[in-house]
């Protein structure tokens, strides 16, 4: 498995990676990301999960809340996120992630609780849980990674798969007549009064990654300030099941995915 750069830069003796000095500064943390373990990850080449993990961990470090964080990992490609995150983590049954987070946050309101969910977990099997957690105005943060397919199980069609997109269960492309329309979760949740902050971002370019980090920071700030439910949808690449190179996949987000799922703030306060 290919080594990625996630969490690689630090520790005496670890191979030096060029990223520290040469990548654009993401403001705070410097080389050491306390919240992210110094490990190889299991994600495919060009997958956006690694970037999303790192952004969340950088924000947690910047707010200095690592020791207060309780994370809920999903079922999906990020199911073993607990291997990488250096704070308290549990994993939820598929889709029940916001219900588990609700239980944790209500039991420990002073902790910072976030869920990290994919599109199958959040927008298919866990639709009821996300809508009702949002509607109760649960003071939690949701990081919703949308790559438009079920990656872990072999690239099946997701509720967020675009019209015409080929997957292992929509071989001729998603048919709107047969399969219905791709779900826009943020726009659906925006009408709920308990929902305070919603933004859609992407991790397909350096510029978008910077924007994504700002959104994740704002989402955690929303929780820290006890304002209510916050969620960031991260449009992410799945080169493996899009049948593309990592560069083509990043480009597809710009040309196709973000034209259907527009980047930007959907709701704020």
């Amino acid at each position: 498995m290919k080594k990625t750069r996630i969490g690689k830069e630090k520790k005496a003796g670890a191979p030096k990676v060029k990223s520290d000095k040469k990548t654009p500064s993401l403001e705070a943390p410097g080389p050491l990301i306390k919240s992210l373990r110094d490990l190889e990850n299991h994600y495919c080449a060009g997958c956006g999960h690694g970037i999303a993990h790192r952004l969340v961990c950088e924000v947690i470090d910047e707010f200095d809340i690592r020791e207060k964080v309780i994370a809920v990992a999903p079922v999906g490609c990020a199911v073993i996120a607990y291997e990488y995150w250096n704070f308290d983590v549990t994993e939820a049954p598929h889709g029940r992630t916001p219900a588990v987070a609700t239980g944790i946050k209500r039991a420990r309101p002073d902790n910072i609780v976030f869920t990290y969910q994919g599109d199958g977990d959040l927008a298919a099997i866990g639709t009821a849980e996300i809508i009702h957690a949002a509607n109760r105005g649960e003071n939690i943060t949701v990081i919703f990674v949308n790559n438009g397919v079920y990656g872990m199980t072999g690239g099946q069609m997701a509720p967020t798969t675009l019209a015409g997109q080929k997957t292992s269960t929509s071989l001729a492309g998603r048919s709107l007549r047969r399969d219905g329309y791709p779900l826009k979760m943020l726009e659906m949740l925006a009408v709920l009064p308990g929902v305070k902050y919603l933004e859609r971002v992407s991790v397909n370019s350096a510029q978008e990654i910077l924007r994504a980090k700002r959104a994740i920071r704002k989402a955690f700030k929303t929780q820290i300030d006890k304002k209510g439910f916050s969620m960031v949808e991260v449009l992410s690449m799945c080169p493996t099941y899009w049948g593309m190179s990592p560069i083509q996949a990043a480009e597809r987000i710009r040309t196709d995915v973000s034209t259907f799922y527009p980047i930007g703030v959907v709701k704020t306060y």
């Binding site: 690592r66 020791e67 207060k68 964080v69 309780i70 809920v72 990992a73 199911v79 073993i80 607990y82 995150w85 250096n86 704070f87 308290d88 983590v89 549990t90 994993e91 939820a92 049954p93 029940r96 219900a99 588990v100 987070a101 609700t102 239980g103 944790i104 946050k105 209500r106 039991a107 420990r108 902790n111 910072i112 009821a128 849980e129 809508i131 009702h132 109760r136």
Partner: protein, 343 residues
Amino acid sequence: MCGNEACGEGAVLAGCKFYAGYPITPQNELTAYMSKRMGETGGVFIQAESELAAINMVLGAAVAGVRAMTSSSSPGISLKQEGISYLVGCELPAVIVNMQRGGPGLGNIAPSQSDYFQAVKGGGHGDYKMIVLAPSSAQELLECTHLAFGLADKYRNPVFILGDGLLGQMMEPVTLNVKPPETMPSKPWALTGCKGREPNVIRSLLLAEGALEEHNKKLQEKFSRMKESETRVESLNAKNSDIILVAYGSVARVAKLAMEKARAKGLKVGLIRPLTVWPFPDKVIYEAASTAKKILVVEMSAGQMVEDVMLAVKGRAEVNFYGRMGGGIPTEDEILARIEAMP
């Protein structure tokens, strides 16, 4: 108070600080009671959007180290099975109450004992067991629920209360004879934020080769310890009787009346009432079967516990069965007639 309320008060007195539930008859008095009492005692009450959400909110509260409970009735308990399996897999303590109603399907809202297999054999996926307490009065509901929280924490495993609609809704005098725990057990494994320690992870996913088998061995060892230490049973005239009745829950009370009537007629009849249907009191039943000629199992089902009785008896005595289904409740005269009709 009614049985459902007694159950709720048992939870409150055990230091339950979190309840999530979904409306379903015949356990609604419990949800309403917890709504009131959680508010009064600084706990959390959530009316969940579904049974699935309710059990998973309880899972979340258990993850956070808080004593938590959910309750439902048969169709709702079916929906909770996924969460129960995860609770066991993650080694999380929680209390789950089933006030059983008639099935299958939507069935009806009359009392039943047809979820016995689901409760004691593992209704969800995976090899697992949990202590299943089977109270037979409002008083016992209070005591069993109180006990359940302690057992759940002791073994880091969910504990199940197997009641029925009759038990839940019947009004009876109850003595508040249980006390709040003086100290709560420490839970160093809980997720509280990793201040001053290494991060904790609570999960049931074990992908490394052999890891899940090791985890299962550890769980099975724990289930063995439960079986050794937590079997509870009441025996009445079980020694030196020709006929032994075996019944649990509300039906055991009817069976007791039948036993008394039979004894008044000069028949040597005893009663064994499992208070835990898992672990099952198979030794007590085996011993009774060594002297009794016949056994009669009475249930509000087509015959579920009777299978465990047959396994316990190991062929030493003849095992008969009398049951009513779909909300039918055996009467003492029906049971007496069955006793007298036994060859």
